[in-house]
Symmetry: C2
Subunit: 160 residues, 2 copies
């Protein structure tokens, strides 16, 4: 939908201090409350802001091990595999990617030993031909959005 610099600054402010309300937002942006409200509504209804759900840290829940598994799927078994993986709570994310019927999923586990259990459960299905797993050691760049927002706001060229 495209965002201008004001939208960009609004998103940055929200990313830095999510608890601030519309009023405080408008103060920091130097605009009227109605404007901040309208911008926020537009970003939300336009799908740019999907929501404000809590960002939960799996490690703090007792799942400090993260891994990415690449799965090779037998022809036509895709839907079954998806349904299967959806039932595994340790599967946090699943993508289908280009390549020979591949899927990529993000897993967490209580320990390296526990990861074996998770993987066994994940691959314990007919449709999965092969799985290769990479265990995450460090996370130098956690999921971030601000740089992209800044880029998108600049590209729009509009003031803000």
């Amino acid at each position: 939908m495209g965002i201008d610099r004001l939208d960009g600054r609004l998103l940055e402010l929200l990313a830095e201090e999510p608890r601030i309300g519309v009023l405080e937002l408008s103060r920091r942006l130097g605009v009227a409350r109605g404007t901040a409200q309208a911008r926020l509504d537009r970003l939300t209804s336009g799908g740019v802001i999907r929501g404000f759900g809590p960002q939960v840290d799996p490690a703090a829940l007792g799942y400090p091990v993260t891994a990415f598994a690449t799965l090779e799927i037998k022809q036509g078994q895709g839907p079954d595999v998806r349904a299967h993986l959806t039932t595994v709570p340790e599967v946090l994310e699943l993508h289908t990617t280009t390549g020979s019927g591949d899927m990529l999923c993000r897993l967490v586990a209580r320990s390296n030993a526990d990861l074996q259990r998770v993987i066994d459960r994940v691959v314990g299905m007919e449709g999965i031909v092969r799985a290769s797993t990479a265990i995450v050691m460090e996370n130098p760049v956690p999921l971030r959005i601000v740089p992209l927002v800044r880029q998108a706001a600049q590209d729009s060229g509009a003031a803000g």
Copy 2:
């Protein structure tokens, strides 16, 4: 830190309707406001809840293409490569993984053609020996946390 069923329900409620406040939360949980407040504070200070930042959809910002790139890094070049990738706004996430000096990063781009530009920028560095990219076609399971929270709350055995 471990969570009990009440914490679990609280997290689920927040995940479903993030805008509700502490008062509404306490009403739905059937506890006093102070209790909901205290639980929320504990989860936040304990690191389970990292924050309530807006979940921004890159597609709505004009970046509908997502890809995962596996990078093979030359010995000792890790830190330089990290620093380099941090400067690329289209790099949303970066992990170092087990394997031969590998990194895994999540990219977005404005189009498949634009992805080439992003990848060129990503690999445009001495330390990177090889890069293989998988373009995401579908995302059957978007990043989710509720099933894991439920699991963690059950495992604790405590009431809620």
